[in-house]
């Protein structure tokens, strides 16, 4: 479980919070909001990369009071822009997930297998496509945590093709099913509605809504969040911007 209470952070002219929210164990929580609403800042603050006021707790422990080693054992983070020109091999980079953890080659191998990286294990990461690099970093994060750990991801599927985006969501669903906590920012609202259990809505640095994904990610709420009309699509009422329904961009 990842929990924050009165989390406030000032970054230049931007102010985040105060934010009070909780990502539940055994669930995927989608963080949704317009550009520059503070999603990345919030995720970085929750992981202890940025330090603000208020409290962040990971599985009951105050993150700010943890040592770097303890924090690395509790939660893993996949940033939005992964380093592209890393001159390490795929296997070496995924293994760095266990830098401060007991070596567990079976977790490293399992993470690489889950992200389809076995054939690329000896390739330098810098020679891979953007999507492949993203999979490497997700595998590194998977190798880092225990099966019931906390995984924080910033738009993990943005550079992935539809097939790999689906496979990554399946992997994340597996983490949640094993008792882990998954918190991910998402711009693909249909995917968020389809895979997430809960959702946090963020606007101008403030949490304007949190609850089940089905209740949060419905057209009226999203219209007020993004300032554009949404329609519900299909039996699952997946939200889609209204302009895409018979879109004419001429």
């Amino acid at each position: 479980m990842l929990h924050c209470d009165q989390l406030t952070l000032r970054l230049g002219a931007f102010t985040l919070g105060p934010v009070c929210a909780e990502a539940q164990r055994g669930a995927i929580t989608a963080l949704v909001g317009p550009n520059a609403s503070g999603k990345t800042t919030l995720l970085r603050a929750l992981c202890g990369v940025l330090h603000g006021h208020g409290t962040v707790c990971a599985d009951g422990q105050v993150v700010a009071d943890c040592t770097a080693k303890e924090r690395a054992g509790m939660l893993a983070f996949v940033p939005q822009r992964v380093q592209g020109d890393v001159p390490l091999t795929v296997e070496a980079l995924v293994s760095l997930g266990r830098l401060r953890r007991p070596n567990a080659s079976e977790r490293i191998q399992a993470a690489m297998a889950a992200l389809g990286l076995e054939a690329l294990r000896a390739r330098p990461v810098g020679q891979l496509s953007v999507g492949q690099r993203q999979r490497v970093h997700i595998a590194r994060a998977l190798a880092q945590i225990e099966p019931d750990g906390i995984l924080v991801l910033d738009e993990p599927t943005a550079p992935l093709d539809p097939d790999w985006a689906h496979r990554v969501w399946v992997v994340l669903h597996g983490v949640a099913e094993a008792g882990g906590t998954v918190l991910s920012s998402v711009h693909d609202l249909a995917a968020a509605r389809a895979v997430a259990d809960d959702a946090w809505l963020l606007r101008d640095g403030l949490l304007v809504g949190s609850g089940s994904a089905t209740s949060m990610l419905e057209p009226a709420g999203l219209e007020s969040l993004f300032g554009t009309a949404f329609v519900a699509l299909g039996d699952n009422a997946l939200p889609m911007p209204a302009w895409m329904d018979g879109a004419d961009v001429s």
């Binding site: 983070f77 822009r81 001159p87 390490l88 091999t89 760095l96 401060r100 590194r140």
Partner: protein, 332 residues
């Protein structure tokens, strides 16, 4: 370890042993110009052993310094000579010698090293500050700032040379060109060897932390690598290693740039192999250049070893700069 990497380790090890043996055996008759390979007479044995050991110590120290700078700044062009660290250290030593000369004091090896360390760290901090862009040292801007600081420090050294008497000036000049000493100050030599040993072992054991510095700051923090602490330690160690090497032999250019790249070509970018590989490559470069200069006489006596390392390293730097400008860091 793959067969290719194993061959790389063997090649560097063999190369280091070969140049050390060559430095002990090679000789050139100054009158006839005949070159011979023979175990030296007892009178020369000590000098050659010391020269070989000094060359190995400073080659290893400069190479390790370059490896640590490249990792901590995430910049494949970083090196003690290109960041002004070596020239800063040189200016520090010159300043100590000048103050000692003016005040009539004896400048001990400890004072040399202290002067070099203050000069090295001063130059490094200045360059990092000047090269900063969006809070992080930009690769090319940092090198430009380093070249400017190095040029200023070199001008300072020339200025100090002009302020000392004729007899001392020759010694200043020879040292400033970079010369592997045949009679090194024992305190300086052994402190360089000890520092290289300690820094090399710590870097080898912390190789995974150095690998983590190659990742983005957010990733490095969240995997528990403590990048700020590791980076500070690396910069301090690089400054100390360069200070010792410069105090021992003068500012030798490009060894700290070329040696890590030689090792990277053979052993890859993982620091578990790169750290010892760079040290071996540094030994090959410096002791090899020192052995080569024993047999080269263009009419004005033996060339300073710094001239040879610059002739090798300069073109290598231009190739690396071209690659870096193309954004092909990953291929390096």
């Amino acid at each position: 370890m793959s067969r290719q990497r194993l061959c790389g380790v063997g090649l560097l090890l063999l190369g280091a042993v070969a140049v050390l043996v060559l430095r002990l055996l090679v000789d050139r008759d100054p009158l006839s110009g005949d070159i011979s390979l023979a175990w030296p007479e007892p009178a020369w044995r000590g000098l050659r052993l010391h020269a070989a050991l000094a060359g190995a110590a400073l080659g290893g120290a400069l190479a390790l310094s370059g490896t640590l700078l490249q990792a901590s700044l995430r910049n494949v062009l970083a090196a003690p000579s290109l960041l002004g660290v070596a020239s800063g250290a040189g200016l520090g030593v010159m300043a100590v010698l000048y103050v000692a000369h003016v005040s009539g004091m004896h400048a001990s090896s400890g004072m040399w090293t202290l002067g070099a360390f203050i000069g090295a760290m001063g130059a490094l901090l200045l360059v990092l500050q000047l090269g900063r862009r969006d809070g992080w040292p930009d690769a090319v801007t940092t090198i430009l700032a380093g070249v400017i600081v190095a040029t200023m420090a070199s001008a300072g050294m020339v200025l100090l040379q002009g302020l000392v008497p004729e007899g001392l000036r020759g010694r200043f000049l020879a040292w400033a060109m970079g010369t592997v000493p045949e009679l090194p100050e024992p305190g300086l030599l052994w402190s360089t060897v000890a520092l290289l040993g300690v820094a090399g072992i710590v870097a080898f054991l912390g190789a995974a932390r150095l690998d983590a510095l190659l990742l983005s700051e957010d990733t490095a923090i969240t995997i528990g690598a403590q990048p700020e602490r590791v980076r500070t330690l690396c910069l301090l160690a690089a400054g100390l290693l360069t200070a010792c090497a410069v105090a021992l032999a003068g500012p030798l250019a490009f060894v700290g740039l070329v040696a890590p790249h030689m090792a990277r070509r053979l052993l890859g970018s993982g620091h578990r192999l790169l750290v010892p590989g760079s040290v071996l490559a540094g030994i090959v470069l410096v002791v090899g250049a020192d052995a080569l200069r024993q047999v080269l006489d263009l009419g004005a006596g033996r060339l300073p070893v710094g001239v040879l390392t610059t002739l090798i390293g300069g073109p290598a730097f231009l190739v690396l700069l071209r690659r870096a400008m193309r954004g092909s860091h990953a291929a390096l």
